[in-house]
């Protein structure tokens, strides 16, 4: 620890020097120097050849970030983050944009394969377009042509900024303003990549869109920015999955996802999050501070969030829906599994503004080891949300007696015609169930996985098929060592 503090002090001293001598970051470098200041933000923007308005936006975000305190209301506990002890821009060695998978560094492809992401097979089998993010630069994008035929845009946010500046300018920050919260602020200042999706009017996206996010280079904070727009009468299902290799230093991940849904359109957004949770003593592991929010702007629009959260040392994440359009629908289906020393504070916000808007929240929390899991949810019924309805069900399952599960529902209603229903249960995995399974030949860990998968079924069912199978396996893997 002492060594780290020392290093940090040195870095700080260096940073101060930079200002003194008018130090300018070397734009030719592949990596921005460690630490964060205005020049880092300018470096990123210059690297990305961004328009002036975006640089200004980033700088405003950066300046606001400096003034904001860390959010401290979540039930998570971790040492203060040293923002100066991280890199904010790095790229893999092969930066020439590959035109096909053949041009991708075979070493990278092998890593993907180890993680069970065989791009080639996926291309053929699942008909899934993959925009694989390695570190901060997209290294492979597939199925672009097939999507283009339908007018669907699916590319990295950096490309979108260049190729579709009007769309980006119109919608970026329109759901999550740069000053929304400290983590979103940081993301706005330094985001390096992420995905952009636009589904034109009346188009049903012909395939599930999928991005695998990964973190690889040591000490690279990841600041992904995703923007998805579903124009009138369109539909898209978007999958986001992540894995990360073993590492022993805490890493900050502060992503922002914005969804915009216009009249009669729908976005289904599914996540399987499996970042390194740290070892059983809680050493290492990713800090995952995500701001995900969707706006149902149009009438009869719909957003459905489904998440399976099994990784990260600390998770801070509340995918939310702003139900503006009349009759719009918001859904949140969540599985949060914590084991060992993991901490998760997750939930959703359903903000009902339009008439007859409905929302449904199904949250399943599973805690094992010495982990702590909190469901935190807000349901707000606005004054004009006549006839709005919400149904919330929160179930917690405890494995062992050293873990904790907490449910914190906030309900605000300014409208007497709105209906809110809330159900919550907490149970322990039962000895009877485990013995029943084991008597039938099913090993103890498989029995836990089976019972837990059963407990989560309502949520797993929401996932697209291929993803559901992966997620079920993940449920088992993440609870390994939780019994016996």
């Amino acid at each position: 620890m002492a060594a780290t503090v020392e290093t940090v002090d040195q870095v700080r001293a260096l940073a101060d020097d930079k200002y003194k001598y008018g130090f300018v970051t070397d734009i030719e470098a592949d990596t921005a120097p460690k630490g964060l200041d205005e020049s880092t933000v300018r470096f990123i923007s210059a690297k990305k050849e961004e328009p002036e308005w975006l640089l200004e936006w980033r700088l405003k975000a950066y300046r606001q970030w400096l003034t904001m305190p860390e959010p401290e209301w979540a039930k998570v506990d971790f040492p203060p983050i040293d923002y100066q002890d991280a890199y904010y821009f790095s790229a893999p060695k092969t930066t020439e944009a590959p035109k096909s998978l053949d041009e991708v560094d075979p070493e990278l492809l092998r890593t993907y394969e180890k993680l069970g992401i065989p791009l080639r097979e996926q291309e053929m089998l699942a008909g899934v377009a993959v925009d694989a993010v390695f570190d901060s630069v997209s290294v492979a994008t597939t199925f672009r042509h097939k999507l283009a035929e339908k007018g669907v845009i699916f590319c990295s946010i950096s490309e979108a900024i260049k190729d579709y500046p009007d769309l980006v300018k119109k919608y970026l920050g329109s759901v999550v303003p740069y000053g929304d919260n400290k983590h979103a602020c940081l993301n706005s200042a330094v985001f390096t990549d992420g995905s952009f999706v636009y589904i034109p009017k009346g188009v049903r996206c012909p395939m599930e869109l999928s991005t695998y996010f990964r973190i690889n280079a040591a000490n690279t904070g990841q600041f992904e920015r995703t923007l998805i727009i579903a124009d009138e009468g369109s539909y898209v299902s978007y999958l986001e999955g992540c894995t990360a290799p073993m590492r022993d230093e805490n890493q900050l991940h502060a992503a922002v996802v914005e969804l915009i849904v216009l009249d009669d359109a729908e976005i289904k957004y599914s996540t399987v999050q499996n970042w390194y949770p740290g070892d059983e003593n809680g050493v290492g592991g990713i800090y995952n501070f995500v701001t995900k929010r969707g706006a149902c702007r149009g009438k009869n629009s719909k957003i459905s969030w489904t998440q399976v959260e099994t990784g990260s040392a600390v998770t801070w994440k509340y995918p939310s829906c702003i139900l503006q359009g009349d009759n719009s629908v918001g859904e949140f289906y969540s599985i949060a599994i914590t084991n060992n020393m993991q901490q998760a504070d997750t939930g959703t916000k359903m903000i009902h503004l339009g008439k007859n808007t409905t929302s449904r929240i199904i949250a399943k929390g599973i805690s094992a080891g010495k982990s702590q899991s909190t469901y935190r949810g807000l349901v707000r019924m606005g004054a004009k949300a006549k006839g709005a309805r919400n149904y919330t069900q929160c179930d917690s399952l405890l494995i062992g007696d050293k873990c904790g599960a907490h449910t914190v529902p906030y309900i605000e209603s300014r409208n007497s015609s709105a209906q809110i229903e809330h159900e919550a249960t907490t149970s322990k995995i039962s000895e009877d169930q485990l013995f029943y399974c084991r008597q039938r030949g099913i090993g103890e860990e498989d029995a836990v996985a089976l019972v837990v998968n059963g407990f989560c079924r309502e949520v797993l069912q929401q996932l697209p098929m291929e993803f559901a199978v992966e997620a079920q396996k993940l449920v088992g893997i993440s609870l390994e060592g939780s019994v016996g």
Binding site: S430, E431, D432, Q433, F435, Y436, C437, R438, Q439, R440, G441, I442, G443, E444, D446, A447, L450, V451, N453, G454, F455, C456, R457, E458
Partner: protein, 249 residues
């Protein structure tokens, strides 16, 4: 095939089994009868490896192997099956999923190939047909919302699928109507072979009309106090257990 020698077991410091001796040969059907609380379920649990029982003395040999050191799933792999007095509900897990996982786990233990979904469906269709069990039960979550009789039938279906060599039925007949009783009997009789054995725990002579036992034992206060042939069951039905409970005390 099963040799229980001087078995003593405690639950939470209280002696429940107090010196059980029982030998079951391949091909035999044994029935255990006895008053409530005499230790019948405890015996079934100790044989199948449930946690929470302290074996203080004695041993249980199954095909010559001491199984008391094995995990419950290993015993299941070795061919020990218990039909539960109170089958357990597993919400969200369909019967098909559960049985497929069970069968494949057992097959894996025995060094056999696992079955894929198609092969498994073939097995399950055959067994439900043989037992006259409706397929509706397969899609439902394991025992959730099942009637008492349906739960028992479901256990028998699992037994038929796993094809154990030693089946222990803990009051599987309690609360069953005549048709269900026949299903249970069919399930047991389907398994009967010179290699397999069955241990039936029951309170009623009725089941033994369908599953004819070679031996009947009376368990009272944690001991086998009398053994005989099937006529003993009839005698018990007439006279009750008073004689034995006095004797064992």
């Amino acid at each position: 095939m099963l040799e229980i020698k001087n078995l003593h077991a405690d639950v939470e410091g209280k002696a429940i089994l107090r010196g059980i001796d029982l030998t079951i040969q391949p091909g035999e059907v044994h029935a255990i009868m006895g008053p409530n609380g005499s230790g019948k379920s405890t015996l079934a649990h100790v044989i199948s490896g449930r946690d929470g029982y302290d074996v203080t003395e004695g041993e249980v040999l199954y095909r010559g192997k001491n199984i008391l050191d094995m995990d419950p799933e290993e015993r299941a792999g070795e061919g020990v099956f218990l039909a539960f007095q109170y089958p357990v509900e597993i919400p969200g897990v369909t019967n098909t999923t559960f049985m497929k996982e069970a069968l494949n786990s057992v097959r894996k233990y025995r060094g056999e190939d696992e079955l894929d979904a198609m092969q498994f469906m073939k097995v399950i269709r055959e067994k439900t047909k043989q037992l006259g069990i409706s397929n509706d039960m397969l899609k439902r979550a394991v025992n959730v919302g099942f009637s008492g009789g349906e739960k028992k039938r479901n256990d028998i279906l699992q037994m038929a699928i796993l094809e154990p060599s030693l089946a222990i039925l803990d009051e599987t007949d309690s609360g069953l109507d005549i048709d269900a009783l026949k299903t249970v009997a069919d399930g047991v009789n389907l398994l009967r072979s010179p290699e397999n054995a069955t241990l039936v725990i029951t309170h009623y002579q009725r089941l033994l009309d369908y599953i004819v036992p070679d031996f009947v034992h009376v368990l009272a206060k944690g001991k086998i106090v009398k053994s005989g042939d099937k006529s003993l069951a009839q005698e018990l039905e007439k006279k009750g257990y008073a004689e034995f409970t006095d004797q064992a005390a």
